[in-house]
Symmetry: none
Subunit: 218 residues, 4 copies
């Protein structure tokens, strides 16, 4: 899957021509991600991003002419990364194992790119003005396809009877929660969140809970 393909209405993203361009665009995107993740599109200012990117505001706007353009580019990259593991669910695989792989992949994304998760959460909370079309189009298509697979597994008795869409929601909810509500989790658990075992512990818990709910009783 190519970046910038999935999210539909691709902004006239000027392709980087030079090395400097590519580097600076990357710097800007990284800086903007951390700002947008916290305050959303409207609550973030170009000044903050420029400051975070250690760049002058006009120079930043030389690379991305509008604030929205940076925001859109970030969302597109995020969606691309998120769809990949979902698309990888194999109808011919072992159901629980396939779900375990998907959950693990999502948890891994939440751990490695928590700000991307928060960026997306912000976008959805604010009514999905930018990704609405993408949700209703490509995402819905993919989700429906995978839901059908799950429904097939349930029909075959290889999964406990569970609504496929709600299962997917539960996976999204639990995995993304660790990124989106990171501040709350830190407030409740303190420094142990940064301890070495925390990720595994969280993964273990999520997998246990979700997979127990879908593993067929015999």
């Amino acid at each position: 899957m190519q970046p910038g393909k999935t999210a539909g209405k691709t902004a006239e993203a000027k392709r980087p021509r030079t090395r400097t361009q590519a580097v600076n665009r990357e710097i800007i995107l990284e800086a903007a991600l951390s700002v947008f993740a916290k305050h959303g599109l409207r609550g973030s200012t170009v000044d903050q991003i420029a400051s975070e990117a250690e760049m002058s505001k006009p120079n930043l706007l030389y690379y991305f002419r509008r604030k929205q353009d940076i925001y859109r580019a970030l969302l597109e990259a995020t969606l691309d990364a998120w769809l990949e593991p979902l698309a990888a669910i194999d109808p011919d695989g072992e159901p629980v194992e396939e779900l375990r792989r998907y959950i693990s992949a999502k948890l891994d994304l939440a751990r490695r790119r928590p700000e991307a998760s928060r960026l997306f959460a912000n976008e959805i909370l604010s009514g999905a003005p930018v990704v609405e079309d993408f949700l209703k189009g490509p995402l819905k298509a993919l989700v429906d396809e995978k839901a059908a697979i799950v429904r097939g597994w349930v029909g075959e008795g290889r999964l406990a009877p569970v609504d496929p869409h709600h299962l997917i929601f539960a996976i999204w909810a639990t995995t993304q929660h660790y990124a989106d509500f990171d501040v709350q989790i830190r407030a409740l658990l303190g420094t142990q969140v940064d301890g070495p075992g925390f990720s595994d512990q969280a993964a273990q818990a999520v997998l246990t809970i979700i997979l127990s709910g879908v593993r067929p009783r015999d």
Copy 2:
């Protein structure tokens, strides 16, 4: 539990002295909730709230002197409502039944006051600047207390072995997801979200998944 008690640093919330005050403050809070839920504190403008409340901006500020005051009042009310069912978990009750009740209560809140959930999500995403102290203080205390109860149940074999904190996170994640990611869910499921059976269906799914994960295997 009294409104405005839980969230600590209560702004000098001038109690309404007249009928008009009470009515208008309520109108403003309702309007502000729908705005803040979408765009957070920084992304929302007093103009938007005033317009939503069908009130002039200075008149709105006659009731709440600062934008922050409205925001804080809303968060406090939300936290109060959210803590009640958690506090109600009874150590002497039947474990799965207690959890079922808590999950149902949270789902009910998500259904009846989805904007409050989004308001809170926005606050957390932006780093919890307002509720940080509350999270680290009263909430942590309550959560630790309830986690101990769960841990006790697990020790007695009345629940499957699961980390209590992560279980709580999973409950929060799955229940609030229906409010916070409502737009995404609608994009994926279409009009059926507004159908009569949807809430029950969602509740059924969440309860099935979570409770299967904690019900002890024998």
Copy 3:
């Protein structure tokens, strides 16, 4: 001399009809004086005055319909009080004695009503928008009359040769300085300003300096 007579364009000062009216108007004027003296007409707010007068804003505006009205009333009263000792200079008196009396009277006013002095200073600094006509009319007439007297005294050799207008300015400057620059004087002299002898000491110095400058050398 009647209050409100001197300053020309007398505002439609509704005469107090009742006891309460008279009392409240006096309270307001006293409160407003302390506010206007510090921040001038534009820099002062009705809220400040109302708060200082321990009165609600609408109630205050019931007595004086506009901020300007209070300001004007205060200026008029001040000018009345100030002109009296100047008018009292007697052409048939002993020159140095007459000046001593005038200087003493002005120093006394500065000591008893320093805020009135600051109010007037503020008005002049801001271009005398309210008292301009009064300055050019009644005040000029009176000053010219007294200057003529002084000039006569100089002509008769009863005073050292000094320009009468500049002499008056010097008197005004030195006497009002103790009220207008009170904060500066306190910063430089510390608590001794409030000591019992300070006024006398200041009076002594001013009288010495000014009168030595005008006492005829023989």
Copy 4:
């Protein structure tokens, strides 16, 4: 003496980096001086200053981020200019001659920069919120030092017995009066104020009056 040195709490006065910066900052300061001199800090608006500087409001704020910053810069420059001649009073000089020089210098400042004098007067009238520390610190130190010199002269019989501090106040009062009460003086003297001889006449009068008061009688 360096500008911005005397007044203590120097705002992070970003030194002009470019030609345009230097020019525009100067334009703004000049415009602001004429506005602040009339209405003080609170009574003045950024709009007025911008309009006076023939500049858009945001552009003005591009050079000085806050209204206070302009105000402070102006006060610092004024204080620097004012202290110089006071500091120049020479203990080894001829007393009356030293005082004459100081008075002349102050009169010259009042004539050349009357608005600076009014700016300062406004600041003092409003309670010296910005220069309070400066008054109590550096200014008090310098004044006390010079007062000691004067006291020495008096002790040696080279000056008439006069309180040194009150002498300084009298000099300040009379010299600054021509700037601070300019409007009043014009109202009383008419066009002659702009005549060629007026400054000399005023200087003559002030010097005569003050110096006669201090010249030792023999």
